[in-house]
């Protein structure tokens, strides 16, 4: 039996890889210099480390070192990209095109600009697999559009958007293309030139690096993209992001990117095998389960499933020695389930029944077998306790029932 508890929530965060940790350790107390100290060896040592990391990150996304700006994480990268572009290009226009399943860091940045009267925003829908139609992007762009911001891959259902095509359309129409690649960079091949990406957000802790550090890629050529800084200070990072650099974190992010790039092809095959085994196991042993997300254009480690007639949070409670997450938000005051799952056209009831499995570098086949058994067992137990399962078995159409909600 595998060691418990099992961590299978790698979209939320990942453990720091031992190789990353070892690369970081000397930069805490031995090589502690400020990368901005230009006149002694302590500063030079730190600057060297930061530059090495810049190169490692650039290599992962096929960019140039000087195009990498360090931030505190992807939320800051998203805010800086979106608000920075809208502010810088305000003479040119004020329209943003994004989509309804974006991360809150993107959606709420857009909403903040709307509220402040600084931008108007088009929120594109997604299809039943969670994918944006590039043609809809083309139609949404106007002469006032300054920014298109669409994520590379979704954090809940794993669907990979046709980013290269969206990027090409934005480029043709002269809009800046920002891409939140938090779930994709380091997991699947990302190429800022092939994909026509102008700004790209990355987070370290999603790729076996430390929390609290991220990066923003800012295209320097063809075209050169400009952003207005959102933080005033010493003018670090070519004036785009002031603040003393988090050298240890940056070293960790760099090393995490290097490891991810060198192992990506092999690791993807392994993850895909594990994920497909988990999916097949669940679908073979349980009826009335449905996949949320694209059947093929999906992150290798992602599996999001709705178990009809079972509420997600109660299922999580039954899987107490397994860390996964649910699209049910029974704890929130609104009682509304995941906005991402709902955007796919999935009913609220099935959205409440969804579970996200996030496989990662340290998951094993034994863990997948264990999780398959436990999930099957718990779903069956909870269905025996579910009035909805009983009604459905009795042939009652649940949609025809007049429910007496609170």
């Amino acid at each position: 039996m595998p060691k418990l508890p099992i961590y299978m929530d790698n979209h939320a965060t990942t453990p720091v890889d031992q190789r990353v940790l070892e690369a970081m350790l000397p930069y805490f107390s031995e090589k502690f210099g400020n990368a901005a100290s230009r006149n002694h060896s302590f500063g030079w040592e730190a600057e060297e480390a930061v530059d090495r990391a810049r190169g490692q990150i650039a290599q992962l996304i096929k960019a140039k070192s000087k195009e990498i700006i360090f931030t505190s994480g992807a939320t800051e990268s998203d805010n800086l990209a979106i608000k920075g572009v809208v502010e810088f290009y305000k003479e040119k226009g004020d329209h943003i095109v994004t989509c309804v399943t974006e991360h809150k860091a993107v959606l709420d940045s857009c909403r903040a600009l709307e509220r402040a009267g600084k931008a108007t925003v088009t929120y594109l829908p997604v299809d039943k697999y969670g994918m944006v139609d590039p043609d809809a992007v083309r139609k949404a762009i106007t002469d006032r559009t300054v920014l298109v911001t669409i994520m590379y891959a979704n954090n809940e259902v794993g669907t990979i958007h046709p980013v290269a095509e969206i990027g090409r359309i934005a480029r043709e129409r002269g809009a800046v293309f920002h891409c939140d690649a938090v779930q994709a960079a380091g997991k699947i091949p990302v190429d800022v030139d092939r994909d026509h990406i102008d700004l790209l957000s990355i987070s370290a802790h999603k790729i076996y690096g430390p929390k609290g550090v991220g990066a923003l890629y800012v295209r320097s050529k063809g075209p050169r993209v400009r952003i207005t800084p959102q933080m005033d200070g010493g003018g670090h990072e070519r004036g785009m992001r002031s603040g003393t650099l988090n050298v240890t974190g940056i070293v960790g992010l760099g090393k995490a990117c290097e490891v991810a790039a060198s192992e990506m092809a092999e690791e993807n095959r392994r993850l895909l095998d594990l994920r497909d085994k988990l999916q097949a196991g669940i679908f073979e042993r349980l009826d009335e389960v449905s996949l949320n997300g694209h059947p093929t254009e999906r992150l290798p480690g992602n599996l999001n499933v709705s178990f009809a007639y079972v509420e997600g949070e109660s299922l999580l409670m039954g899987l107490h020695d397994i860390a996964v997450s649910s699209g049910s938000a029974c704890t929130s005051a609104t009682l509304e389930p995941s906005y991402v799952i709902r955007a796919l056209g999935v009913s609220d009831e099935l959205a409440h029944s969804s579970i996200r499995f996030g496989l990662g570098r340290f998951n094993t086949e034994a863990e997948v077998d264990f999780v398959t058994d436990r999930v099957t067992h718990e779903v069956k137990r909870l269905r025996e306790m579910s009035p909805l399962y009983e009604m459905a078995r009795d042939g009652i159409d649940l949609k025809s029932v007049q429910w007496k909600a609170e």
């Binding site: 509420e311 009682l335 609220d348 429910w403 609170e406």
Partner: protein, 142 residues
Amino acid sequence: MAYSDKVIDHYNNPRNVGSFDKSDADVGTGIVGAPECGDVMKLQLRINPDSRVIEDARFKTFGCGSAIASSSYVTELVKGKHIDEAMTIKNTVIVSELNLPPVKIHCSVLAEDAIKAAIGDWKKHHEDGEPAAAEQRKAQEG
């Protein structure tokens, strides 16, 4: 958010899970909540028509652990109680027994509603609805 020990106990060992025959005149069935809200409780009470005492109870719940625990606890709570007494049960009793946090209070409200709905259903058969059975019994007694 951690669950209280009592919620975990009811979740792992739910009391009185199951169903009675809905068409049995002595059974009152209450179904409250809605699937799109993530909570549906079905509570069934077997009520003695003469003493009006709840003799047995069963539940089935679609919902979070706290919803399952609330309905499981209610089946224990109502057993042996006269329906007039059961009608006075407040959700706060469930909240304090299970140590429910503020975000889970709606589960206890739903459980209270389920008791009222089940007794209301039983009363429909025995008071205003189908008095036939009760009258027949009276006739036999007389």
